[in-house]
Symmetry: C4
Subunit: 184 residues, 4 copies
């Protein structure tokens, strides 16, 4: 994620499920491209710290929501790309429509580029509980991810490898939509 | 290809001819930038697996078509760049016209930048047999490659090095055309 | 900074506070991505060389100004990004307004993306004393940095790590504003 | 140069002066980012091969012209960037005007960003002798480089390090001009 410029400054969060009750997640602050063991803590599925002295990031709640909703999800990635940030500010409404892209097939269940999929697009909110409530209604679409306006992308998968494949596919498609809007 | 961002997510395929009857090709799925020996299988020139338990990617058929058509081709590369993906969706018709670029000389037989060459541009199709039939009529032009709309680029050469040189030249030229369209 | 393309050619300067009276700073000229021990010299807080034979860069004065103004600043970074350079030439007036970006929270004291912050934007000037005088009136805003028109970005922090986090956040936000202006 | 994408495919040439009569230069073809000892040959200042079996690139003549014109030049770099290629095709006339950029000071003799410098812009030509004749009249301006339309950039310096500093400054400035044209 760092190599692609998706975790600039202190942005982004990475988590992996340890077992049915616990996840490892990056702490608040710190540059994710310089991540060390000390930059990771353990929380339960409701975001309560299981690491002594640990203060979870406010966005830990969004990670936990995904793990609670999908018992087979093993990893959640959250990044801040320029493409997703800018695109999400110019697209109106609550979804980014994608169709005609071969890359759509990177999402499970999509077998043709002719599919029309909608990436959920939600207004950013500092009240994570309120935001989680809105996200809840959008988790079950064909895309294993969503976009927060002016903020970034969440993506998930059964393990870290698949979550990265989903994030890369989503960022690729969002960047295509972003670049297309620069053409006259 | 990974370094340039041309094999995002599970996109892209890479193959090399082993001998007159066999090619080694990347399996379906998997991130090509993390490719290991296990991610490669052997098929015959009609795409039938010669590796126990191997399931070739659907696009193996497009690779095999190129090896059958050109006995001197030793490698085929297929990538998904943002430039080719977006450009191919805004260019109408069945070709991308290039002229006035020194880089055209990277294609065999082109001795001047004043040449006008057309990169074949084909609609994407999930029916690989049908798509192969359409590709068949476009393989013999001056450009050792073609573009699938909303999908990506195929390029080939006598060995992997030359195939990469052709792919890089083609992606450079497509990116120039793409960027030029962003200028008012 | 080199990896992101922010110190092209001989551009940019990097400094770190050694103690209350001295800073280490890159010398004039030289490519910062190839920096060696010989490329660094020591100056006092007024820019006078404490290294035998050393000639400080003209911009050393802007670094010293920041260290004098903020006793808790431990590092100052100055880069030349294409985004900041071009954006600063098309934005009129003396500030670049940012709002609606989650990344704003990377700046101390900003707790919501709804904040509206202004990045100071100053005309470039070869008279560093005169420029320092103008900069002086703009140092105390919420953004730990400023932009010189057609020139680049200054950012600072309590140590080199935090200065880099601030620079990355600022460059990310400037790039978002820059890219947004390319969209029709 | 490879890292920045300036020598795609078989594009670009790199040369270094060995002494008053000889230069080492990259051979025709081959990817410059994979350069080995075998990819380099020695020629005299008129481009005649001093390496047994060596065939100099057609563009060797443009390198030699620069070494003959400037006895203190120790290295010449020629690359193909997308920015320079596309910009050179949309700018009319025989020069690219730069002013208001701090980076102009990277060129010897420029002491202020307020300087207005013109980068020579020449139509590409496969007749290198004819092209050299046109280049001859443009070598003595303030910019240690020039642009061939639809082709790329030449830059030089007293040694390879300085030539790279000049090339980086020139590419930075051309990219700024290119990006500025994408803004509405």
């Amino acid at each position: 994620m760092d190599r692609f410029g998706w975790v600039p400054s202190v942005g982004g969060n990475i988590s992996v499920r340890l077992d049915a009750e616990r996840i490892a997640i990056t702490r608040s602050g710190g540059r994710k491209g310089f991540l060390t063991r000390e930059g990771v803590m353990v929380v339960d599925l409701h975001g309560a710290s299981l690491t002594e002295g640990g203060r979870p990031s406010a966005e830990t709640g969004l990670h936990c929501q995904i793990y609670r909703a999908f018992p087979d999800v093993g990893a959640v990635l959250h990044g801040h790309s320029i493409a997703a940030t800018v695109l999400s500010r110019v697209v109106e409404g609550d979804g980014i429509v994608l169709s005609g892209y071969e890359m759509i097939k990177a999402f499970a269940g999509q077998t043709t580029h002719e599919a029309r999929v909608v990436v959920p697009l939600l207004d950013n909110d500092q009240d994570i509980d309120r935001l989680s409530g809105i996200v809840a209604g959008r988790l079950n679409g064909p895309v294993p991810g969503y976009v927060l306006r002016g903020h970034g992308v969440y993506a998930w998968g059964r393990d870290a490898d698949q979550a990265l494949m989903h994030l890369e596919a989503l960022e690729f498609l969002l960047d295509c939509e972003f670049q297309a809007r620069k053409i006259n």
